[in-house]
């Protein structure tokens, strides 16, 4: 086993080097500020969200359609201008102070004066617990009583949220009813509230669009860093040698050897002559 590992290691090292340098693998190691975009404007076309200013690179999230949420994208922190556009036309803008390392979901909603951008900061996840918040982003539905399983989660109006509440980890049906009524306006079945996560369920739709509940994970309780699960017993003697240096030395030796090899006949020729 030791010898096998010794042979494999340089090969794996060389091959995985390319993987490690890929942007996808590198993007999530730091606790950078992140933003996500959820489109909750009924009838609205696919839209883009850009975040500029503050400190850090500009973030652009493109082509999100109604009822969809993007992945988190690394965004600048500090005073940041967020602009929502569709087909190159500005629909809404907001200036927001984004905390370093925090995560936000920007939701495009139908407001009285047109499209509005609202920011929902991700709450902290707790190890072993599931936390769930519900946001009302369906403009024509009126106040709704939200339930998670058989538990009332809160009664909220358009633009309001329940705040995070703790749930036993598991799978739930989330439902919206008119307050005091038994009939269900909309229901999402089998929503996973996993241990160690904080999530938000957004009620979106109405105004010509079907009402739906879109659930996204906001944050995860995870250990810091990476586990040290090796003590070196499988490392071949000399393992840890900088392989690029070894390769460079081999090539240099090769060049030197080649030079000696090509000049040797000349010297021999002179002696003979």
């Amino acid at each position: 086993m030791r010898s096998n590992t010794g042979v494999r290691r340089p090969a794996v090292f060389l091959v995985t080097g390319a993987i490690l340098l890929s942007p996808a693998a590198a993007g999530d190691a730091t606790a950078s500020t992140k933003v996500r975009f959820l489109h909750a404007v009924p009838g609205g076309a696919g839209a883009d969200l850009a975040a500029v200013g503050g400190s850090g690179p500009k973030a652009t999230i493109r082509g999100i359609t109604f009822g969809k949420a993007s992945e988190y994208a690394t965004a600048p922190s500090g005073k940041v201008s967020l602009t929502l556009t569709a087909g190159g036309k500005k629909l809404a803008g907001v200036r927001k102070s984004l905390a370093d390392g925090a995560r936000y979901t920007f939701v495009a909603e139908s407001g009285k004066g047109g499209v509005e951008l609202h920011a929902y900061r991700a709450g902290r996840a707790v190890p072993g617990q599931a936390r769930l918040r519900i946001v009302h982003a369906a403009p024509e539905v009126g106040r709704v009583e939200m339930t998670v399983g058989n538990r009332k989660w809160g009664t909220i109006g358009f633009g309001q949220d329940t705040g995070y509440k703790q749930a036993r980890p598991g799978t739930y049906d989330i439902a919206a009813r008119s307050p005091g009524k038994q009939s269900v306006l909309v229901q999402a079945k089998g929503v996973n509230a996993a241990a160690g996560t904080a999530s938000t369920a957004y009620t979106v739709g109405s105004a010509g669009e079907r009402i739906s509940i879109v659930t996204v994970q906001d944050s995860v309780a995870a250990p810091q860093g990476s586990p040290d699960t090796g003590l070196g017993g499988l490392a071949a003697p000399g393992d840890g040698t900088p392989w690029l240096a070894v390769l460079g030395a081999a090539l240099a030796a090769g060049l030197l050897g080649g030079l000696v090899y090509t000049r040797a006949p000349l010297r021999r020729g002179r002696v003979r002559g």
């Binding site: 490690l20 058989n150 439902a175 009402i211 995870a222 990476s226 017993g233």
Partner: protein, 212 residues
């Protein structure tokens, strides 16, 4: 130039024993996405404003018990699993010979990513997870919980990542699929510093239970 050519051939020969492209060409990001069935929590149920009269209540359901043992016959693993938390923020590494389940996250058998770690080696030789970095796709991993229930997984892929760029978001968390993530060490070993990398093996729950 002959020695240089020989050196080049030697390097090529050393690299011939690499894992298949399907194992190495994916980053942890891609693997995690493939292991998860859906990008979000899996549910975006919708219906019209027409009212319905009944409500099916699913109150969290019954949780599987915490894991008791892990078995990977093809890797010679059959050992107890200890629940581990954190020590000054970092995950506690279990004793040699034990596997450690991150108790702050999903349990094996639950939707989301259950994480189990184990030693690649001891100071003198192979450790519990010595053969985990070489697990092939579709390899069976069985986890038995404290209630006696078997949760069987099949490997879908592996990734090797530098420890100083550990992809936390792609390792821990929820999701709609039942995923098991095994973590051990990998890459070059540097005296006084340890292994440079971690190896992540992703597996999805399989309805097929197997001993092999």
């Amino acid at each position: 130039m002959l020695p240089a050519l020989v050196a080049g051939i030697a390097v090529l020969l050393l690299t011939r024993d690499v894992a298949s492209p399907s194992q190495t060409s994916e980053s942890a990001v891609a693997l995690a996405r493939r292991a998860d069935a859906a990008r979000h929590l899996g549910v975006s149920a919708s219906m019209s404003l027409k009212k319905t009269s009944s409500l099916a209540v699913a109150d969290g359901g019954s949780r599987p018990a915490p894991p008791l043992r892990i078995s990977i016959p093809s890797a010679g693993v059959n050992t107890a699993v200890k629940a581990v938390g954190t020590d000054r923020g970092a995950i506690r590494v279990p004793s040699i010979g034990l596997a450690g389940w991150w108790k702050g996250g999903p349990r094996p058998g639950e939707r989301g990513r259950a994480v189990i770690i184990g030693h690649l080696d001891t100071a003198r030789g192979p450790g519990l997870f010595a053969k985990v970095p070489a697990l092939k796709p579709r390899t069976v991993i069985d986890v038995t919980d404290r209630g006696g229930k078997l949760h069987s997984y099949r490997v879908v892929g592996r990734a090797q990542v530098q420890k100083n760029r550990f992809p936390t978001d792609q390792v821990y968390g929820g999701g709609s699929a039942k995923v098991l993530v095994l973590i051990t060490c990998g890459g070059p070993y540097v005296q006084g510093e340890g292994y440079r990398d971690n190896v992540l093996v992703y597996a999805r729950e399989s309805p097929v239970s197997s001993n092999g």
